[in-house]
Amino acid sequence: MHITDEIIIAGFGGQGVLSMGKILAYAAMFENKETSWMPSYGPEMRGGTANCITIISEKKISSPVVSKFDSAIILNQPSLNKFEDHVKEHGFLFYEASTIINPPTREDIMIYKIAAIEEANKMGQKQISNMIMLGAFLEIKPLVKRESVLSALKKVLPERHHHLIAVNEQALLRGKELIEINYHVSV
């Protein structure tokens, strides 16, 4: 694994895209790693899409804005169309099965199809699909530890939602399981 991981997370606004990136960044900080988080910003978000780049590294980070990524977590079709080509060779792409009709086609990257929304609906908590996705991602790319992610959650969730932490933890676990079930020996 690289000592630096450059991750793009993209989807519709409201899918929790920015929080996922922030959670990763906080977790990295708690582990004394270098990290940066760069959101798409401004009225471009009016269009309904949002993305952020999180970088986690053992070394000082040069640019917080990169156009090629080690990892991509993609939650909707327009974002997949936009970012599939930006994953580095041998990189990793995670995509949301429930919203993406035309799946990625590249053969030089590792691709993980996660039905996170479906799973979240099954768990009766629509809001946590992003955490399921994150759990899956971290199972394949253990960039940060589980405890760090949980501490990070506390930072990112507004105080008034802290009662949801347990649910989010379950979601992370569910994501991990989805990988174990579908891809366990493949990596």
């Binding site: 922030k22 960044a25 906080y26 900080m29 270098e34 990290t35 940066s36 988080w37 760069m38 959101p39 910003y41 401004g42 009225p43 471009e44 000082k60 980070i61 040069s62 640019s63 917080p64 804005v65 990169v66 156009s67 930072k155």
Partner: protein
Amino acid sequence: MKMQKSEVRLMKGNEALAEAAIRAGLDAYFGYPITPQSEILEYFTEQIPKRHGVVLQAESEVASINMVYGAAGAGARVMTSSSSPGMSLMQEGISYIAAAELPCLLVNVVRGGPGLGTIQPSQGDYFQAVKGGGHGDYRLIVLAPSSVQEMCDFVFDAFKLAEKYRNPAMILTDGALGQMMEKVEFPEEGSLPHQVPDWATTGKKGRERNFITSLHMEPEKMEEINLHLQKKYKVIEENEVRFETFEIDDAEIVLVAFGLPARICQKAVELAREKGIKAGLVRPITLFPFPKKILSDLSKKIDHFLVIELNAGQMVEDVMLAANGKCPVHFKGRMGGMIIQPEEVLEEIEKIIQQPILQE
């Protein structure tokens, strides 16, 4: 700057800057929303009522800068912030502030221009900040952070310098640094004491009246004022230059970049070194005063300068003035909100060292 640090936080550059200002004992902030710096105003409106100071959303940037003038003239530690188009509107006010020698902090979170442009990061306002976008001969002290940590630290430095020299100081940063989150460690609150200066208009009590002005009807007098200002700028140039170097000792090609691109160039230097290319980097931290001497010294022993900016080539002129023909100065820029990548810089380096050196 040595200062006791506390707490590490993960924070947006804009917010880190605002938090730093509060800790630096900010008395008043006046500003108007504009992407990508609205978080500064937003942070203040959220925090200041719970802590100390004044925050006011003005009706425009023109109003903001003139409120800053008033508050600074009244002896307060005061600041405003904006982004490119808003900063252009402040140019008259800035010229007045510089002429009346009022200390204050100006923050320009630059976006892609000209015109309405984009909201993405840029360095297209270097000339405006460094050469003077307003009328007449004046200088701002300009600091260019390249990390969220520096977005914090330079607030303290800027206030210190501004007050030391009775001169407006500017933090010239960009949309990416403003919007991104990184780790940041804050100095303790209260570590930068502030006294109301004796020239301030606080009420004529037990002294002759004070007045703040930049008007001098006789050109003779106005020339004197200018000579005084120029002398002050000279002192600043002699004492306050700041820069950082990286791998320059044996360098044959030296990159020059400020702000975020300096970090990208550092990566490019590493990549170049991996390929056996003797590359180095000078990062001007103060854009005025410009680190002319180090560049001038280097120009006599290296083969090339390569200036990297997020604009069409602005600081490159200052590098050329420093090099003064002693070595070729190359330029590569991205514009309109595009950020350059380390690989692109490396490519540029390789192109340069492959071409035969033609001292024209």
